[in-house]
């Protein structure tokens, strides 16, 4: 009986936890195996983001000794990378112009090693829904991003909407695990060769910065697919991408910083229950000299206290 009461009390705190300190102490003392409370919804409780992943703790905890061992094993690979970096620095042979009409591929999905550069996520990974997805090689020898999109909301009283599947590239890095960014300033068009199923997908280009306000900056655009057995080439100018943060379009729009691109991803979340299937041959970049638009959306000044509040 007493246990039951404590449980209900804890549930009460978990579900509407305006007192994070209190709930934390209770978790410590009771040692219950609850997942960390995650703040969902438009309400913000703090002025800053304390966690890059927004509270989704996906890190594997390892002991210090294990850490040392694994780090030592990776030393060889890292030194190789470092050597290559030094060679590149000495050679100083960067790409200075992009040839118009030619597509430079960033990822060509013709072998398994390219798929390792991507991570898939679905809402069921965090017990927030029932969708599932995977990125595999297709029978035609390309990447196949497929799964089941389910918009049912789990009945835990915490989540209002569900149903997303996403694939995202891993953060590129320099040697010794230093994070790096893509440099796409030569190009102005994103080119994808795909074969879809008639659904519309979302292209996400993350431009994470140093400060916490920029951690969730993602530039979005819709990828419409024709469906059917024929490949299609989608060319989307970067000027069309809109800035969003945590899925919300921002009032103050800016164009993308091409030298600060950290991730590229495709997600499926069109609120339609059912299987989805997207085959991707390559993701590339192109310089289109006829496209001189810098940013497709209005950037005039608006009234005070209306925009950006």
């Amino acid at each position: 009986m007493a246990l039951c009461k404590i449980n209900t009390f804890i549930n009460l705190i978990r579900n509407n936890s305006p007192y994070p300190v209190l709930s934390r102490t209770i978790f410590k003392t009771n040692n219950f195996n609850y997942s960390k409370p995650i703040l969902i919804g438009s309400q913000r409780w703090l002025f800053h983001e304390s966690h890059r992943k927004g509270g989704y703790d996906t890190e594997h905890k390892v002991s210090n000794l294990e850490h040392l061992k694994k780090g030592f094993q990776e030393l060889k690979q890292e030194l190789k990378l470092f050597k290559q970096e030094v060679i590149d620095l000495i050679e100083t042979d960067p790409l200075l112009i992009a040839r118009p009409g030619e597509t430079d591929l960033i990822w060509c999905f013709n072998d398994l090693s390219t798929l390792d550069k991507f991570v898939t996520t679905a809402d069921s990974d965090h017990n927030e829904g029932f969708s599932s997805c995977s990125l595999e090689m297709s029978s035609a020898g390309r990447a196949r991003f497929h799964g089941y999109l389910d918009v049912r909301v789990p009945k835990d009283g915490r989540i209002k909407k569900a149903g997303y599947c996403a694939m995202r590239s891993k953060r590129i890095r320099k040697s010794f695990k230093r994070p790096a960014t893509f440099d796409w300033h030569l190009y102005n068009t994103l080119v994808l060769k795909i074969r879809g199923d008639g659904r519309s997908y979302l292209l996400n280009i993350s431009c994470e910065g140093f400060y916490d306000v920029t951690w969730n900056d993602i530039y979005h655009y819709v990828l419409y697919t024709r469906g059917g057995p024929y490949w299609q080439i989608a060319k989307i100018p970067f000027s069309k991408f809109v800035l969003g943060s945590k899925g919300r379009l921002q009032d103050k729009q800016t164009r993308m910083r091409f030298d600060r691109v950290t991730h590229f991803g495709i997600s499926c979340g069109d609120k339609i229950n059912g299987r989805f299937d997207l085959e991707i041959e390559y993701v590339g970049l192109e310089f289109d000299p006829t496209h001189d638009e810098e940013f497709a959306y209005e950037m005039y000044k608006t009234d005070k206290y209306i925009v950006g509040v």
Binding site: D150, R152, G227, G228, P229, L249, I272, G274, V309
Partner: protein
């Protein structure tokens, strides 16, 4: 004066639209729920609007209007009105006019009447999710309720800015309301996936034309002239393959289609050097020059994909094996005589079984089951 106010309060009936508390006999106190949406015999727009009218007429103070709007929003899909702007307007109209407008800067800054504002924002969000575009009348209504500093107004203006930008973005046009007829829907789907080739002809056949057919159904088949040529050039010893079913989505509607795939054709290798000037042919189309306009016999078409040559695409009424057999027969009848002598392999995955997915079970298991089945 005080008496008048007190009287006013006492006269208002303490009835709650959704919850009547402590009803029943005096000894046994329990909660009874009265849900006007539930008790409607017919679930349509008319009855939905009637419930809203009932709520508005019930109580001059409109107590519990926020709760009512939330309850009404949750019932929209049930009544089939989630895409109707008029219904959303009727719901916004429930909110009191004038009372919620902030009177000074502090009220404006610190979210005057937060529950009501959040409720209106959620209503607008639901509109957005259902792709309902607001209009200027709704703006006027919101202005009368929350004033120009209200947060629902900001949400409204954002919607009015962005939604028209994305509304007609899709390069493949679909009508506002998809047809209910399955043949028309299948035709739309086949036309969409074969839109790569403008020469393609979409035809609707009945399987009754084939006497041996068991399934009496329809077939929407698409084939272009170039595909006929590609089919005619298939080697006789290499079988054609019927693959499917694959899905194509037209918004929420799913249409499954099948492919008739031939052997992958070898790529044409053109080793001639365009800079080589030793053997220039006579230019064509110049007046005075007599030349023959020769089109290369084998041309790369869009149907020659790297995993096979797509010879035809179809959707049938039943998606059954027999109807596909009839499709092959009908193709043979309509200008592909080679099909009578070339073998055709049916590699069809089993039709997806109707499995109920338990609420707690992740869907991963289901895909595994299907993969095994296929």
């Amino acid at each position: 004066m005080a008496n008048k106010i007190l009287g006013n309060i006492l006269r208002t009936r303490p009835s709650f639209m959704l919850f009547k508390r402590w009803e029943g006999s005096k000894s046994e106190k329990r909660v009874t729920v009265h849900d006007p949406f539930y008790s409607q015999p017919q679930k349509n727009k008319q009855s939905y609007l009637e419930v809203i009218k009932m709520f508005e007429g019930q109580d001059t103070r409109r107590r519990g209007h926020v709760e009512f709007i939330y309850a009404a929003l949750a019932r929209m899909r049930e009544f089939g009105v989630q895409k109707d702007l008029e219904v959303y307007k009727a719901l916004v109209d429930v909110l009191p006019k004038g009372k919620l407008i902030p009177r000074n800067i502090f009220q404006a800054e610190f979210m005057h009447y937060p529950k009501q504002q959040q409720c209106a924002i959620d209503l607008l969000e639901q509109m957005e999710d259902n792709k309902v575009m607001p209009d200027s009348e709704l703006e006027q209504m919101l202005l009368n309720i929350f004033g120009s500093r209200g947060i629902p107004l900001r949400k409204f203006w954002r919607m009015l800015y962005w939604m028209p930008k994305f509304r007609n973005l899709s390069p493949w046009y679909l009508p506002e309301e998809l047809p209910n007829d399955t043949i028309a829907l299948a035709r739309l789907a086949i036309e969409r996936i074969t839109s790569v080739d403008p020469d393609i002809k979409v035809e609707i056949w009945e399987t009754e034309e084939i006497e041996a057919s068991l399934d009496k159904t329809w077939i929407v088949s698409a084939q272009s002239e170039s595909q006929k040529i590609l089919l005619a050039e298939q080697p006789l010893d290499d079988p054609l393959i019927v693959k499917g079913p694959f899905n194509v989505y037209l918004r929420e509607q799913v249409v499954s289609y099948f492919l008739l795939i031939g052997k992958t054709r070898p790529e044409i290798k053109d080793d001639s050097d365009p800079d080589d000037v030793s053997n220039i042919k006579k230019p064509l189309g110049i007046p005075g020059v007599v030349g023959s306009s020769q089109v290369p016999v084998v041309r790369q078409t869009v149907h020659e994909q790297d995993d096979g040559t797509i010879v035809s695409v179809c959707a049938t009424g039943t998606s059954s094996r027999d109807s596909l057999l009839s499709w092959i027969r009908l193709l043979e009848k309509h200008g592909n005589p080679l099909l009578s002598s070339i073998p055709v392999i049916f590699t069809l995955t089993a039709p997806p079984s109707e499995m109920s997915i338990p609420e707690t079970q992740p869907v991963k298991d289901r895909s595994k089951v299907e993969e095994i089945a296929s």
